[in-house]
């Protein structure tokens, strides 16, 4: 906004802040990660606080609040610095955000622990687990294809929707391979997690899914990826274990099933 450059004094203040956030040319090369890390923690803690005083209202889930509030703050700051939200995100937030994002690597492999804790279930039901995930995923693909077609997405849009059951690192290259837009697919994977995190408890109740803990776990892991697995762990150890195995198997099933499905449906 104009205020920052209204007086020489204010201009200097703006340059100082810009340097600190890494939005000025000099600061950008330094790649200051502190702002991104601080903002992430701040918005998440605000989300936790809202969730507490809102008595668990589902839209106040910390991840959802953190995401919306974080984007809103970046949008406002971008206006203040007279740049686009995307540019401001890249120069000011991404260096810190990437550091937090990296820790999803050890967090993902950590799900081997709840998986192993209920290895008894894995050993007894391995055939049902694998068949459920293959059949369930293929059936879901028809629904997703139908919904995307019905809502009028173009070929690129439909192709971008199909691989979203896999983790982002698998879904994105598959989307590109079948003629989709990898950025849209990444967005879908992120939204899956946010939706399951916000609506998971309600959906599990509404569709009476928790009668069968194995199915509840596999469903949450398929629909919500690792965040769905964390949700499943809150329901119980079997649900958590099943969600963890779903994350692995579904990703590999997407690898195998989605490209031929897209070809049969005449995409690409």
């Amino acid at each position: 906004m104009v205020i920052l450059s209204a007086t020489p004094h204010m201009a200097a203040w703006g340059k100082w802040l810009g340097d600190a956030l890494g939005t000025n040319a000099a600061g950008a090369s330094a790649g200051n990660a502190i702002f991104g890390i601080f903002l992430s923690l701040l918005v998440y803690l605000i989300g936790q606080w809202l969730f507490k005083i809102g008595k668990g209202f589902f839209l106040f889930q910390p991840l959802f609040v953190g995401m919306v509030l974080g984007i809103f703050i970046l949008f406002l700051l971008a206006k203040v610095f007279g740049t686009t939200t995307a540019n401001f995100y890249k120069s000011a937030y991404k260096p810190g955000g990437d550091i937090i994002f990296w820790f999803l690597n050890p967090a993902t492999i950590a799900f081997a622990i709840p998986l192993y804790r209920r290895n008894d279930i894995v050993k007894r039901f391995w055939l049902e687990i694998i068949l459920s995930l293959i059949i369930g995923l293929v059936a879901s693909l028809f629904f997703i294809y139908g919904a995307a077609k019905f809502l009028g997405l173009d070929h690129t849009g439909i192709a971008s929707m199909l691989p979203q059951a896999a983790t982002t690192a698998i879904a994105m290259p598959i989307a590109t391979a079948i003629g989709g837009d990898a950025a849209v697919t990444a967005m879908a994977c992120i939204l899956n997690a946010v939706i399951i995190y916000a609506l998971g408890d309600w959906l599990v109740k509404a569709f009476r899914i928790n009668h069968d803990p194995i199915g509840a776990g596999l469903g949450l892991g398929t629909a919500g990826h690792t965040v769905g697995s964390a949700k499943a762990l809150q329901l119980g150890s079997i649900q958590g274990s099943m969600a963890s195995i779903a994350v692995v198997i579904v990703s590999i099933v997407v690898d195998i099933v989605v490209p031929p499905f897209a070809a049969i449906m005449g995409l690409k």
């Binding site: 970046l74 937030y93 081997a112 622990i113 983790t167 837009d181 939204l191 946010v194 779903a246």
Partner: protein, 149 residues
């Protein structure tokens, strides 16, 4: 807190103690490193990312008792408890894709919402169906002990 924590540990035999956090972190780092070497061996048409391979490696090491739960569970459970926070940057990353949302945004968000619910419900009901078949067609036990270990 620190006193009550350290007191019972001294009574336990050394082998039952959880590994120090720095050792647990090193195990995770080593598994990630090996997984990152394996991941590029897969062809581009069949991507298998590093964390998925890492999860499989850690599971196999636990199942074969090469690694014990006490070697990894303190750090692992901590990382899992952080997962929603670790996802915040991914959510905020959508700030860079606001342009996509501007053009087809509403339809895409609607399809993703439907897809998420469909995947949850269809997979869960498929499992319930297969477990019903296991019980009524193959007459195999489906009793599960839902107590956590």
């Amino acid at each position: 807190m620190a006193q009550s924590h350290s007191a019972p540990q001294t009574d336990q035999p050394a082998t039952e103690q959880p590994s120090p956090i720095i050792v647990q972190m090193a195990i995770f780092a080593a598994i990630l490193f090996v997984a990152s070497l394996i991941s590029p061996l897969f062809p581009p048409s069949f991507p298998v990312p590093t964390p998925v391979i890492g999860l499989i490696i850690l599971y196999v090491l636990l199942a074969t008792h090469i690694i014990k739960l006490r070697n990894v569970e303190k750090f692992g459970d901590f990382m899992i408890s952080l997962i929603a926070f670790l996802f915040v940057p991914s959510g905020i990353q959508l700030a860079a894709s606001l342009d996509i949302l501007r053009t087809q945004g509403l339809q895409i968000v609607a399809v993703v919402l439907i897809a998420t619910i469909v995947m949850l419900v269809v997979v869960a009901y498929t499992t319930a169906g297969l477990i019903w078949i296991r019980k009524h067609v193959f007459h195999r036990s489906v009793d599960i002990d839902s107590q956590s270990h």
